[in-house]
């Protein structure tokens, strides 16, 4: 393998993982955009999506599209239930209290998953064959194309939702200023519920589409959440375009790092990036400085 095709190969790998980080980051953004909190259970939604999908299609032998729909639906309901039971009952909670609740939620989901599925690692067959496609000496899996395509659709829908629909704007308004949103007649609590459901759904989609590539176990969500969070911060919290771009950047850096330096440092790279961003440009690469001053954090 020549150096050129080697680099190309790392790029492909990077883009694949990067798009997943981007999708996890999107989940962070949605909840952040409507509540101002960071939902640290986001990675668990990804894991649940993948695990439920694997059970439905391999154990219950459901066809892929049906399994996909049911898994997303189930995880969406789990996300909504989590909001109703853990977030909703609190009166005037502070942001930090809510974030800690999401940490607890994450531990709970992880424990539940371990209980249900055990500690084993599961795999999902690729959506359309495993035969790699050769491009200039590098290979790309068909599943990668699925991941990129589905991510593109999700991003497009989300962008349309937040910039052009009244409900999307209302969700943003809740994040910025709850009291004023209340004064506009926006039902803030419903918006929060909705944002948890939506980000759970996106997490589930991410979990399902990566399951064939990355394998799934009960503990897979944590690292994805960390990387997704790095991407969200690097892209400028709340910016969806930023989240996707940053996801790609982190994914590519990771795979280049793993290829040329050592795969042992793979996970450290995202965290180093996060630290550097927080020190140098806390508003993120695509975060508008002026806008970020208007945000809570």
């Amino acid at each position: 393998m020549s150096l050129g095709s080697q680099i190309l190969q790392y790029l492909f790998t990077g883009i694949t993982v990067g798009s997943i980080y981007g999708m996890v980051a999107l989940g962070f953004n949605i909840i952040y955009n409507s509540t101002g909190i960071i939902n640290l259970a986001q990675g668990e939604f990804v894991m649940l999506g993948g695990m439920i999908m694997i059970s439905l299609t391999t154990t219950f032998k459901l066809p892929l599209p049906l399994g996909f729909l049911i898994s997303v639906l189930l995880v969406t309901m789990i996300g909504a239930a989590f909001e109703r039971l853990a977030i909703h009952p609190l009166k005037n909670p502070s942001v930090i209290t809510l974030i800690i609740i999401t940490v607890a939620g994450s531990i709970l989901f992880k424990g539940g998953a371990m209980f249900l599925w055990g500690k084993g690692t599961f795999t999902l067959p690729a959506f359309s064959g495993e035969k790699p496609i050769f491009i200039l000496g590098a290979t790309i899996l068909p599943q990668t194309l699925w991941i990129l395509g589905i991510m593109g659709i999700v991003v497009l829908l989300l962008t349309l939702f937040f910039s052009f629909t009244q409900a999307g704007k209302a969700m943003k308004a809740c994040a910025v200023n709850r009291e004023a949103a209340n004064l506009m007649g926006i039902n803030v609590k419903v918006m929060v519920l909705f944002s948890f459901a939506l980000s759970a759904a996106i997490g589930a989609v991410a979990g399902i589409i990566i399951a064939p590539i990355s394998l799934m176990d009960y503990n897979r969500g944590t690292m994805l959440a960390v990387k997704g969070f790095c991407a969200a911060v690097l892209g400028g919290l709340g910016s969806n375009l930023g989240a996707i771009t940053a996801g790609f950047i982190i994914g590519i850096m990771e795979s280049l790092g793993a290829g040329f330096i050592s795969s042992g440092y793979k996970d450290a790279i995202a965290l180093v990036v996060l630290l550097v961003v927080l020190f140098v440009k806390p508003s993120g690469i695509l975060g508008n400085k002026e806008r970020s001053q208007l945000k809570k954090f």
Binding site: Q166, K169, A170, K172, A173, V176, N177, E179, A180, A181, N182, L183, M184, G185, I186, N187, E290, R291, Q293, L294, K295
Partner: protein, 244 residues
Amino acid sequence: MLIIRSLKSFYGRLCALKGISLHIRKGEIVGLIGANGAGKTTLLNSIMGLLSSKKGEILFFEENITKYSPRQIIKLGISLVPEGRQLFAPLTVMDNLILGAYHRYQKDGKAKIRADLEVIFGRFPILRERKKQPAGTLSGGEQRMLAIGRALMAKPRLLLMDEPSTGLAPVIGREVFHIISELREQGTTILLVEQNAKAALKIVDRAYVMETGRIVAQGNPNDLINNQEVKRAYLGKEYKKIWE
């Protein structure tokens, strides 16, 4: 159109309003004046349903709205221009205005809201120029105009204004008062809360004076301006003179 009968409001166990009664007739500008901590903002929040622990009655067009949520109250046609503006700072001016019409979006549809946007832009041309900017980047005066515009987008029958001139340069403050008189001429009923009693009393039809959770005086502006109670309630320097 609005009648409040012996309203008491509480923050926890603290009684912030100690039995307020007042009424507003259609087409009036009614002033509510009083020093800091008199309970003016509390009264507005109680009317809007933002404060839920209260006793007494609030009637709007003969409907008892005391226990209604803010959402229901906005739907009935009461809007508040909050103190300190409370804009959606990172959202654009345009989005702020559109969110003002949130509660009637399903009922009235897009076309009607567009038309109302034009009316607002006609009244505040500066907002049209800046419609794509984040609201937080506007100047203080412009933000105040936006807050008023946003409240008007809800098509209120009664507009509550909480200290619209506070914190603005005097020239801009005067402009705000000018806008308030204009709004009245176009048929909006207004409850104007102000610390700046002199300026407020120039444009209102009637006024109530509040002090520590009670109404201590009421009447037409000319009477109030010379009223001893009012002077005692506000104008610190005369306080001493009257006392001695």
